[in-house]
Symmetry: C2
Subunit: 207 residues, 2 copies
DNA sequence: GGATAGCGGACAGTGCCACTATCCATAATT
DNA sequence: AATTATGGATAGTGGCACTGTCCGCTATCC
């Protein structure tokens, strides 16, 4: 309960309607909003400040939809740390690699898109960590990402109400990533079980 | 440089060999290790404590390989917060759903695997946030995860040296997730560009 | 109608995390 | 010989997500 007070203070939750100086009423919209915050925070790992900005944009009905989606896209992208300026030979190479990928796949994305920068950051980090070979898997990953993205879009397309739409985008993007991560780990366990043992047992690192 | 001191103190980096009471030498293994730490920390978002445990297991050559992979698998899995005890109706339903998925796909995974619990946590959070419909995409996601996991395994299989192997698993799992996340966001941008506009421009939320 | 329990609001404090700064004695550099 | 740098130890910082406490009022129970 003190947490709710705190969220209200931080502008994450609207204050309840005061029925008297010390009595406030909360409707079930509040509860839904609270569950959304908890999901984005606990599962998605978004900082409260990012959640606050996204929710603020959602609630600002004056803002056009594409503005809101823009805010969401930026705020939702994990802060790509480590060489933020993007200097160093690996970073330059990584940016070229991303540009080549976008061209190769015909993806219509501006190269200064935050996701593109974030991808370049990952590629640079892989190279710096001595695992540049992992970058060869880019296209396999991109294929998988494409099919997931289409499914995501189908899910979002079912929404009509503005708030619902934005919420679907945010939830789908953030929780979808966590969902894929968990599935990928599960698939790892299964794949290595099959690869390293012909038959019965679970894999060594399956724990 | 003070950061390196700190990492040595925390046991993340081995101390350099002392040539005299105040002079230590670091070899390039140190630098490589440092880059690995930075990648896992900055890009992967792992807490230093988790990195320390994984690296500790890697360096403990007495431990059998499967033990090390076990430690890595557990430490690498994001701390599934929010309803950790897994009580509440959504959690029970989610766990059943995960079990059904594993059975349906024939994945050989013990149901108490941390990744399975983490998936159940995500599904429960989706339900609680009022986006249970997103769960319908589970199989699309699982297909994508499977193909990515096979590629990951192929990458790892090329390693022979023990330390290299474990490092590949860790890097592949952690940075691979970041790589997929970025690609998925890029694919979103492209997909909605194609869906909402016939032709030229980038999508509304593309930034 | 009087005691008590609880509310909203304000503000200070907590715990964790990843550093960062300062100090000291000694050693390398110029 | 003077300056600069280093390792080791300890303390301090800043960000984040809360949590605890106090206050004045009010709703409620007996």
């Amino acid at each position: 309960m003190p947490t709710i007070k705190y969220y209200v203070r931080e502008g994450l939750l609207p204050a309840g309607r005061l029925t008297s100086p010390n009595q406030a009423r909360y409707d079930d919209g509040h509860e839904r909003r609270l569950r959304l915050i908890r999901a984005l925070l606990d599962v998605g790992g978004l900082p409260l400040s990012a959640i606050a900005e996204v929710l603020g944009a959602v609630d600002d009905t004056a803002q056009p939809l594409h503005e809101v989606l823009g805010v969401a896209a930026v705020r939702i992208t994990p802060a790509q740390a480590g060489d933020p300026a993007g200097v160093g030979p690996e970073s330059a190479e990584a940016r070229e690699e991303v540009a080549a990928l976008l061209a190769r796949r015909g993806w219509r994305v501006e190269p200064d898109n935050p996701a593109a920068q974030s991808l370049a950051g990952v590629l640079a980090a892989l190279r710096r960590a001595g695992h540049g070979g992992f970058v060869e898997l880019l296209d396999v990953y991109a294929d998988a990402a494409e099919s997931v993205a289409h499914a995501d879009l189908d899910y979002v397309r079912r929404r009509v109400a503005r708030e619902d739409l934005v919420e679907s985008v945010v939830v789908g993007t953030v929780l979808g990533e966590a969902m894929f991560g968990a599935l990928r780990r599960l698939a790892h366990v299964d794949a290595s079980a099959r690869a390293y043992e012909g038959g019965r047992e679970a894999e060594p690192g399956a724990r």
